[in-house]
């Protein structure tokens, strides 16, 4: 490689590095602006009615038997027969997944949150806040019509 060609290659690399750094700075500025603007979708805490409404969209063929709400309203676990239908807040949106009810009942609780695991690389785990008022798993008589 001649000195001139090496120089051109270095200039090209520098150009790309500058472009990369510039892009990173621009991204940081746009994300900061988005955070400052506070223009997310309205995403109020869940109540039983809103859980049923959302599940009717996500799982239109499923009947919801009972609803357990996360302590902060940022999620819910609902029983539908032998399945648990889960809603969890992600940013200003909601994510829905389902798992066997028995697996939901035996999910680990750590750091005040019930940790639900799914065999799905798109959402391998979701965690919901548990409180003394809303303990997990819920008491049997109210939530287990099949028990």
């Amino acid at each position: 490689m001649t000195i001139r060609k090496r120089g051109e290659a270095l200039t090209g690399m520098n150009g790309q590095t500058i472009q990369l750094l510039g892009s990173v700075l621009a991204i940081a500025a746009m994300v900061a602006l988005a955070a400052w603007a506070r223009i997310p979708k309205p995403c109020p805490p869940l109540d039983e009615e809103s859980v049923r409404r959302r599940l009717a969209v996500e799982y239109p063929d499923d009947l919801v038997d009972a609803v357990w709400l996360a302590a902060d309203g940022a999620g819910a676990i609902s029983r539908s027969g032998d399945r648990a239908l889960v809603l969890a807040r992600l940013g200003d949106c909601w994510v829905a997944r389902d798992l066997p009810w028995a697996s939901a009942l035996t999910s680990r609780i750590r750091g005040g949150r019930v940790r639900l695991k799914f065999n799905d690389p798109a959402a391998p785990r979701l965690s919901l806040a548990v409180s003394g008022v809303n303990p997990w798993p819920p008491s049997e008589p109210e939530s287990d019509p099949y028990g």
Binding site: L20, I27, A34, A37, V95, A122, R125
Partner: protein, 319 residues
């Protein structure tokens, strides 16, 4: 003016980057002051923009090899299409846009290519930043091969690269909720924010529709056009939305899912189905393809039992 048929004189996407930045800033600020409709969430925005940056880096890695294949194919061209002829640009405009339609349809309807394209649809938001949520694995997925026939026909690789760039830049502005409808004549011919909102929606009746790049005429011709209905607002994202904002998950989750499925496949037929069947295909029909989701929705609308919707074959679609 002479144009190099092998090396693009300019890259429309690179030239448009300042416009991307300014318009995203504009969309955020105007929405903040209530002048237009746009929703932004900081982490979602960061994910979209970082995916865009990663896509550029991935393009640097695979772009050279792809361009080399184009140059190799160009040696075997049928015609010498002059890059300076105006008619050549008119013809490539239509042919490239048709190629994009085919690519986009394949990228939605066959899982192997969906795995590469899905990341573009993972945001539950629809704004200009979403437009930049681009693939990292397009080069590996090989969809660029669909453009090789244009090279073999005799269009110079530089011309194809420029037209592809123009198409990408055009598609940027349709990623917005700020524009409700364009004039009727424009909506009839071109891809618009309204048409593309439908494309990004996960409502059953909107799935697998409006694959257009620049011209919506291809969807109208091939039966994939669905109009946006005001009484059915678009819900954005994918059928099963992602559980976090991790960009590695955005880029690779469907590839990982394919890997899991291939590991449990019991025959070559199952492997082929998992790889090249429609997204949601499974040997026992326990998952839902778009076709099944749409049929079940149609059955519910018709008031039939969702368990046995008339005219719906609950068995999976054969790959």
């Amino acid at each position: 003016m002479t144009l190099d048929p092998l090396k693009p004189a300019f890259d429309p996407v690179t030239l448009a980057i300042p416009i991307f930045v300014l318009t995203i800033i504009g969309e955020i600020v105007l929405s903040r002051f209530g002048k237009i409709k746009a929703r932004y969430e900081a982490r979602d925005t960061a994910t979209s923009l970082l995916m865009g940056l990663g896509s550029s880096v991935a393009g640097l890695i695979t772009g050279g090899a792809i361009f080399a294949v184009s140059l190799w194919a160009y040696q075997y061209r049928l015609f010498d299409i002059p890059m300076a002829a105006w008619w050549a640009w008119v013809v490539i405009f239509f042919l490239e846009d048709l190629t994009y339609y085919v690519f986009h349809r394949v990228a939605h309807e066959r899982r192997f290519w969906w795995a590469s394209h899905v990341n573009h649809h993972t945001s539950q938001h629809y704004n200009l930043a979403t437009a930049l949520r681009q693939t990292w694995t397009g080069g590996v997925a090989g969809t660029w091969l669909l453009w090789i026939p244009l090279t073999l026909l005799g269009f110079p690789p530089a011309m194809i690269a420029i037209q592809k760039g123009i198409s990408l830049v055009y598609q940027y502005w349709v990623h917005t909720e700020a524009v409700r409808r364009m004039p009727a004549w424009f909506e009839a011919i071109f891809n618009t924010p309204s048409h593309h909102r439908v494309h990004h929606a996960r409502n059953p009746q909107y799935l697998d529709s409006n694959y257009a790049g620049i011209l919506i005429i291809w969807d109208r011709m091939f039966g994939t056009f669905v109009a946006e209905r005001d009484e059915e607002p678009c819900r954005y994202g994918i059928v099963k939305n992602l559980g976090d904002f991790n960009i590695l998950r955005v880029a690779f989750h469907e590839w990982m899912a394919i890997g899991q499925d291939l590991a449990r496949a019991r025959s070559l037929r199952e492997m082929a189905g998992y790889l090249f069947g429609p997204p949601g295909w499974s040997p026992d029909g326990s998952r839902e393809t778009s076709k099944i989701i749409k049929a079940r929705w149609a059955a519910r609308q018709a008031g039939l039992s969702p368990e046995s919707p008339e005219g719906t074959d609950p068995t999976p679609v054969a790959p």
